[in-house]
Symmetry: C2
Subunit: 166 residues, 2 copies
């Protein structure tokens, strides 16, 4: 977002920039998840990641619809935030020896990703409403609900592990 200050003059510019930011982020997530699926030991966690990979591919397509609705070409901008979050996730997906510890670290990394997405989609929905574009807002809301559900699922898996350990 280094060219932000030069480019952003209106709410429409801000919305477009943020849309490009999350488009890049979703594509990076689609690239990162297969490695996390491979590394995860717990079957529930692997399933949750697999499910979220399929959802994330749908989120990319949904964003392309939103680009279309505002008459813009779908393209990403570099986003140091998601790059940093995924860099941390990739480090975790290295070779921690204990499978249970690695699973906990992978799930935590995925929840950091979910929270980043939740904040960005929340903002985009508010701005779409501010611009009076209810159709975009509704479409983005569908993705936000899926991100929240994915985050809740990861919390449930963590709680299951905690209950088994207790």
């Amino acid at each position: 977002m280094g060219i932000f200050s030069a480019d952003i003059k209106s709410f429409e510019d801000l919305f477009l920039h943020q849309l490009r930011d999350i488009y890049y982020a979703e594509k990076q997530i689609v690239k990162a998840l297969p490695d996390m699926i491979e590394k995860a030991d717990n079957a529930q966690l692997r399933q949750a990641f697999q499910h979220h990979l399929e959802e994330s591919r749908g989120h990319v397509q949904r964003l392309e619809q939103v680009f279309g609705m505002i008459g813009q070409e779908a393209k990403g901008v570099n986003c140091p935030a998601i790059d940093g979050i995924i860099e941390e996730a990739n480090d975790i997906a290295g070779d921690v020896s204990d499978a249970r510890v690695l699973d906990a670290a992978l799930a935590a990394a995925a929840q950091a990703v979910e929270h980043y997405e939740m904040s960005r989609y929340g903002t985009l929905i508010a701005w779409a409403q501010e611009m009076g574009n209810q159709e975009c807002a509704r479409l983005l809301q569908q993705t936000l609900e899926e991100e929240k559900a994915a985050d809740r699922k990861l919390t449930e898996i963590a709680e299951d592990r905690l209950n088994r350990a207790a």
Copy 2:
């Protein structure tokens, strides 16, 4: 977190690493907020940032208490995630000409920071419980509640703006 895989063998190691990650993050947030306060135009937003700056200083001290509780020296580790989020926030805090658009961008950046913190504190609390350290979990829960409240406050400010625009 580049040295993660070499260092993390137990849940205690993972907890300590994550604690160092958020300790670094909170300190970076304390450094970043004064510039955001200076750039914000809306009085409510400036107040919310100012309040969160004071809270964040308290979060740093609370983390130092947690380090003490587990018999470790308080120190940070580099965290590319928060660096990336703050890099984006700093870009936004540049010189977007329209005050209302800049306020919206600043609030969005702050919400991305809040969500990162919420995900990290949520994880730390779960792990503290997993390790049977209820005292650490309770202390971290206080911070999590403050982060959630800060995020809700920013959403309310955005909704107020939306209602005034309607």
